[in-house]
Symmetry: none
Subunit: 408 residues, 2 copies
């Protein structure tokens, strides 16, 4: 029997409220340069410390598999309880969601970027000298104005940062994934996007739409001095993902500021709550919406952002900003509260990493691990041990008393 | 290659003696109300402490999977090294074993309980007002006297506690599982037990036997004022489980007091040693039987019992009772000794839970984790980490030097 099936069979509906607070990329590593401290260790966190004092279970989570550094997509899918290896989301879909585009079932999305072609159509610069975002916007506007459809397929174009943009193909009977038009290095011509499964009629139809789009689009920008071509990659449809609410019997809401995380929440069927811009506002809104949902995904971006910058002080301050706001959330303490990251973003590495992120769970039955604070080193000593992030939701359900006993 | 196959291929026969002491439900959580202590932490355990001082490896075990609370069946099957999700045992079988009935291969067992029906056959009380055990016994005697067979299928009836009883169908070519006759709520009529697999002839035959039994049995009790009907659930045959002795090359004995645990041991082919009633007597008997077996499963019930009652003091005292008896076992120290639970039964929860139970292993090669005591918080820091309970037996075999090296 499949483990997910067993969980489903044991799941009971309760009235418990669960809050999952994601401090994006919060995990870090202690180095000599940083005084053998992580930002979480260096930060002043009186409110978090008080919560730990009330009794929490701690541990560390492997985001995907040992040594694998996740992007935001797999990182969050795991937190939402979906095996990130089984449920892979095409890069085009993630980019589209990240740009705040609404995807409909059957949409095929491609990640694209402007490039430079020579007179023979050979790629000479895959990123067109990283043209400024405004130039990208201008080129996209031009394309969008000229090309609204190819055949019976609607085309939606949206500019991203610098040379990046997204193209969505919306029509009946389309499906990905397709191979890239990107030859992956300079000195080669553009490729044709081909069905990954040669027998799929829907992939063939999508490939035809892409080919027609490329044929129609290239002349529109042909005279541009720097960006006279474009490459397409990660051409795929939105995967079928079982709805969060059906899977866990929890009505979920997303309180995120950045489009990418709203997009990922939307992918599993969470309701996006719009408006709040700061973590304090997000917590205030949680209070206001308390009665309306069972599960709150609350996303805080800045720990990751400053980790990416390698800015230890700013990451530490981001933790302190979260800590200062925490009492708002605790005004209506959820029955089960988890605080964690979607992965680590160690300042010394200036990027995401595979280091297991610390996690805490607080509930009436979390007991106490008798640790003073919530930190990486502390979490190493906790009762949850090191486990795969995809199981976190199952612990949260257990703490919410949502599982019937298995067997007599 | 299947992991069990690999273990089998590497297994060597040795003369080592292994003892697995199960303090049922010993794991607990530290809460403010209990002075941030668990019963294991609060108990005076000089003998256990001395054993830890001699060098033990500690860790915590996930009974089934993250967040899943096991019944005694899955909890013990995991301790015996059988994946509790792969080897599921029907409730009827467990109840039958729990009542001390011997099941033969091919027997189909049903968990039943007396209920009250109105004149139209509608269930008005699913538990017949929880009739006293003596009334249940009287009704079962009446049924057993009237109905010894249905067709060529022998029927065995045994009373349990209050409204509960067990019916065994013994004959050729029978198989479960069947759906329940229990409509699961009041206001509905009894259902027919149907094959879960409509194509199985053996399930069809079992369903026919159940139908004939119900038809014959209802008139026998029809005039009873409170319990004039009965419901059947968990109708299944004893699953095929590879014998413990074949799987591990260990000749196993069970020293348990309660029928349920004897039954579970019997399911995997352990020899039941009858007689001892206290943990001291169980350990004495272990000494007497030392030469006759390689593996001793010694079960102590009271940690679970008092956990279920939420009685912290009594659970603590149960641990102390075990500790006081421990020197008897250590008179002939087994080559490998494990002390653990089949799951946690936290006093604050008054029931089984998913919290990983602490485990210790003592052997000539256990080394020392340099911890002072055997407790939940200590076990968090141990060399075994957090692992699935089904692997414990493999560690015990390893400590008994029963595995050849894998690969060159």
């Amino acid at each position: 029997m499949n483990l997910d099936t067993l969980y489903s069979e044991l799941t009971l509906k309760t009235s418990a409220k669960i809050a999952l607070v994601v401090l994006d990329g919060v995990g870090d590593i202690a180095t000599k340069e940083n005084g053998e401290m992580t930002p979480l260790e260096a930060a002043r966190t009186p409110n978090l410390d008080a919560l730990v004092g009330q009794g929490v279970a701690q541990g560390r989570m492997i985001p995907v598999a040992p040594g694998i550094t996740p992007g935001s997509g797999p990182g969050h899918l795991a937190l939402f309880g979906y095996d990130p290896i089984e449920f892979q989301v095409g890069r085009g879909v993630i980019e589209a969601l990240g740009l705040g585009l609404e995807l409909k079932p059957g949409d095929v999305a491609a990640r694209a970027n402007f490039c430079t072609l020579d007179k023979n159509g050979v790629v000479t610069d895959r990123r067109a000298g990283r043209i400024p975002t405004e130039v990208c916007q201008e080129l996209c506007d031009k394309l969008a104005k000229k090309i609204k459809k190819v055949g019976d397929v609607e085309v939606i174009i949206k500019a991203g940062k610098e040379h990046r943009f997204v193209v969505i193909f919306r029509g009946k009977g389309l499906e990905g994934p397709l191979t890239a038009t990107d030859p992956n290095r300079e000195g080669l011509k553009l490729l044709e996007a081909r069905p990954e499964n040669a027998k799929s009629l829907a992939q063939k139809k999508a490939a035809k739409a892409v080919a027609e789009f490329v044929k129609a689009a290239l002349p529109v920008i042909a005279s541009h001095p720097k960006a006279n071509g474009f490459l397409m990659r990660g051409i795929a449809h939105q995967p079928h993902i079982p709805l969060f609410q059906d899977r866990y019997l929890l009505k979920p809401a997303c309180l995120a500021v950045y489009p990418m995380y709203k997009g990922l929440a939307q992918l599993v069927g969470m309701t996006k709550i719009e408006g709040p811009q700061t973590i304090a506002q997000q917590f205030e809104r949680y209070l206001a919406e308390y009665a309306n949902y069972d599960f709150f995904f609350i996303h805080f971006k800045y720990t990751d952002k400053y980790g990416e910058d390698g800015n230890f002080e700013a990451k530490k301050k981001a933790v302190e900003e979260f800590d200062a706001a925490l009492p708002i959330l605790l005004k209506k303490k959820p029955d089960v509260l988890a605080i964690t990251g979607d992965h680590s973003t160690p300042c010394p590495m200036k990027g995401h990493s595979w280091h297991p992120q610390p996690v805490l769970i607080h509930s009436a039955c979390s007991g106490s691990d008798k640790l003073d604070r919530f930190t990486e080193t502390g979490a190493n000593l906790g009762s949850l041990g090191v486990f795969e992030a995809k199981y976190l939701i199952r612990y949260l359900q257990a703490h919410a008393r949502m599982f019937d006993k298995f067997g007599a």
